[in-house]
């Protein structure tokens, strides 16, 4: 019974806290700011709709390219090194890291896209604060997706650097034979 009461108390406090936080966010915004959101939000939603479409195209084209880098270049080259019984240095490790980054990028984009779709569905004239908050959330998710893209690019550069080390070692071994 005591546990139930404690649980209910915690739940009530959490709900009250969330409500107060939402209200304080609303109170932080001035009336002029809310009016501005109401005035420009339809235009903003149109811009976001265009961004949504162009990002989808970017996701399809970039995603295909990133995936091909792994499946059509890194994996076959690593396999070829293994079949030739050569020391692959850190290439398989980097390729594996790249796969993980690619998976994280896909997940991150999906979360961003879902958030963007929610933002576009909000009636921004009736709910300007909710719309503004949703834009902020979507912006943060887009930023996270960008960070994953940056990490993917870095991993490609790492693979390239490790490949050059492998090529140098291979050349030296060939000369030594």
């Amino acid at each position: 019974m005591k546990r139930l009461l404690a649980f209910l108390a915690v739940m009530s406090l959490t709900l009250i806290g969330t409500h107060v936080a939402a209200q304080s966010q609303e109170s932080l915004m001035t009336d002029a700011h809310i009016d501005r959101i109401k005035s420009y939000c339809v235009e903003a939603q149109t811009t976001l709709g265009q961004l949504h479409a162009s990002d989808a195209l970017l996701r399809v084209n970039r995603g295909r390219l990133y995936e091909s880098m792994a499946t059509k270049l890194m994996a076959p080259f690593n396999s070829r090194i293994a079949l030739s019984s050569l020391d692959s240095l850190g290439l398989p490790g980097i390729a594996s890291r790249y796969d993980q980054e690619l998976m994280a990028f896909r997940q991150s984009y999906q979360t961003y896209e879902e958030s963007m779709s929610r933002t576009l569905r909000i009636d921004c004239v009736k709910q300007p604060v909710a719309f503004y908050d949703s834009v902020a959330e979507t912006r943060s998710k887009r930023q996270q997706t960008h960070q994953h893209v940056t990490r993917l690019h870095q991993t490609i550069q790492d693979y390239k650097a490790e490949f050059e080390a492998f090529a140098k070692k291979f050349k030296e071994e060939q000369r030594g034979d």
Partner: protein, 121 residues
């Protein structure tokens, strides 16, 4: 002597009378369930995000690249200097394409860009 059984004389039960309709109903219910499962998978797997045939993507649909311009590096064969040079050239070309654009960056979603910033008092 075996007694003749005339099936037409036997009265049909309610189930027998409506079994064809029941079967049609069951088939529709199963189809609806399977469509529901398929749609749930479509939404949760991330396929929906890659589907440019959805409404709203009409303007960008024809700009999707075809996969044909990316040649696969052969996974078998001897490792020679020529192989390494070939891979280097291929990798650099594709790496340039992949890292050349800073995707999802920029300030396209900033308050200023969307005119949602707090106006000066």
């Amino acid at each position: 002597m075996i007694e003749d059984t005339n099936l037409e004389d036997k009265p049909l039960t309610k189930w027998q009378q409506h079994r064809f309709m029941a079967m049609i109903g069951a088939v529709i219910l199963i189809a609806l369930f399977l469509v529901g499962v398929a749609l749930a998978l479509y939404a949760s797997s991330g396929a929906a995000q890659l589907d440019l045939s959805r409404p709203g993507y009409v303007s960008v649909r024809d700009q999707a690249n075809k996969d044909a311009d990316f040649d696969s590096f052969p996974a078998t064969g001897p490792m020679t200097e020529q192989t390494i040079n070939q891979f280097r050239s291929h990798f650099e070309k594709q790496a340039q394409k992949a890292t050349g654009i800073d995707s999802f960056g920029g300030n396209a979603m900033s308050d200023q860009a969307l005119s949602l910033d707090n106006p000066p008092q």
